[in-house]
Structures are given as C-alpha cells and as structure tokens.
C-alpha cells in the first residue's frame, strides 16, 4: 500500500515537473508577452501542486492566492499600461541570448553536480503534514519580529509604488 502510494507520488511529481519546466521555458522564450504571463500562471500552479505533494497546505493556498490571484493580475495590468503589442514582438530578446543560455547551462551543471554529490539518494522519511496551526504558532512566536518587519516593508513598498506611479 505504502509502496503504491510512493509510486503515485513519483508519477504526480514527474507530470507536474515536466509541465513546469516546459511552461517556464516558454515564459522566457515566447514572443507574445501576454502568453508569457499565462505560462507563468502554469508554472506558479505547478509550484502550488508541489507544495501539496510536500504536505505544506498553508503555503500552497498562499501561493495560489498571492501569486496567481494578485501578482499575475499585476503583471497583466503592467502589460496593459505599457501598451505592449498584442501580436508577437520581434525584439523581445537581446543579442545576449547565447551568452545567457551558456551561463544558465553552466550554472545548472554546477548546481546539479553539487546536489548530486550532496544528496544523491536521500529519501523523504515519513512526510508529515505541517498544518496551518503549526505555521501560525511559529510565525507568531519565534518569528514575530521578522513578521512585523515584513508588514512595515509591505507598507513601505505600497507607498513607494504609489509615489513612483503617481502622475504629477
């Protein structure tokens, strides 16, 4: 029973992972800017699904609410307000594409090798659900000071964005 469940987990993981990687590549290569935003939704939804696989319920819900609900809408507003062309853009990439791809591939090589050296076949041992209750207890006891700092930061960012975007 447990073995079957683990197989199911792995199948789910690889389906999600392939979808995410394809969508992420499309985000950085497509010439349609609105398509890029919509592929980004796919990647973010995949990340939320991974959090569910890792039994992290609260962060999965937050991911859907904040990223897919708010940040993508913000991106679409940004696209609309900067009058982006609705068709394909012919100058969406600059001439650093090959250098960029090389750097990304090298980085992936170094990180992949290091991860393989460090964690080779380390399995998750009895994954436990980390409930919203646990997260709340941690945020409001151990990490209450960073939490307050984050709220001030968000306020500062809000005011900063208004000041920057205001027409005067």
């Amino acid at each position: 029973m447990l073995a079957e469940l683990m197989v199911a987990e792995n199948v789910a993981f690889y389906l999600i992972a392939i979808t995410m990687v394809v969508a992420a590549v499309r985000v950085v290569t497509t010439r349609h800017i609105v398509h890029a935003a919509l592929y980004l939704v796919l990647v973010l939804a995949g990340v939320a699904a991974l959090y569910i696989l890792l039994a992290a319920e609260f962060i999965a819900i937050t991911q859907v609410l904040v990223y897919i609900g708010a940040i993508v809408v913000l991106f679409l507003f940004g696209i609309m307000l900067t009058r982006a062309p609705m068709g394909p853009m012919h100058d969406s990439d600059n001439e650093q594409r090959i250098v960029g791809a090389t750097i990304a591939a090298l980085l992936l090589g170094v990180m992949g090798y290091t991860l393989w050296r460090a964690y080779r076949d380390t399995e998750f041992v009895d994954l436990q659900v980390q409930t919203t209750n646990d997260v709340a207890n941690s945020v409001f006891s151990t990490y209450v000071l960073p939490f307050e700092v984050i709220s001030v930061l968000l306020l500062a960012a809000l005011i900063g964005a208004i000041v920057l975007a205001r027409r005067d």
């Binding site: 993981f13 992972a17 995410m20 990687v21 992420a24 590549v25 985000v27 800017i33 890029a36 935003a37 980004l40 990647v43 990340v47 991974l50 890792l54 039994a55 992290a56 609260f58 962060i59 990223y67 940040i71 913000l74 991106f75 940004g78 307000l81 900067t82 009058r83 100058d91 969406s92 600059n94 650093q96 250098v99 791809a101 990304a104 980085l107 990180m111 992949g112 991860l115 076949d121 399995e123 998750f124 994954l127 997260v135 941690s138 945020v139 151990t142 990490y143 960073p146 939490f147 930061l153 968000l154 500062a156 960012a157 809000l158 900063g160 964005a161 208004i162 920057l164 975007a165 027409r167």
Partner: protein, 99 residues
Amino acid sequence: MLLNQFLFLAAMLFCIGVYGVLARRNGVMVLMSVELILNAVNINLVAFGAFRHDVTGQVFALFVIAIAAAEVGVGLALVLMLYRNRRSIDVDDVDLMKG
C-alpha cells in the same frame, strides 16, 4: 520521493529564470523571470522544511512570497515610470550611467 527531485527541479527553474533576466529586453518580462527565480528558492525552502520536519522552511517561504509581492509592486511602478518618460520599456535602452 527523493529530496533531489525537488532540488533539481528548483535548480532548473532558477537557471531558466537567470536566462530570462539576461536575455529579455522587455522590463515586464524581466520581472516575470525574477518571479521564476524566487519560486525556485521557495521550492527549496519548503522541500528542506518537509525533509527536516521543521516548519521554519514554510515560514521563510511565506516571507519570500511577501517580499516577492513588494518587489513586483515597486518593479512595475518603476517600469511604468520608464514607459512614461521614454515611451519604451526596453531595459537595454536604459544605459545613461554606462561608462
């Protein structure tokens, strides 16, 4: 599930994001690539949190999400300013301080 499955996926997302930041011209598309990078970091944090049975990973992922929201807000405001002043959001054109 292996821990490395998640870490490799996060590394791939990170590298795709790095490529996007380097190769994209459009300011909004650069910000989208930065989102990919931040999500890769979050996957790592939550995976290690689950691995160590420690809720701290999730708490830090939450902080990263909050900072990402602030970053996108300010970033898009900057892109809008750029558009208003120059009628273009090509980040390669913003080279006033280039030596």
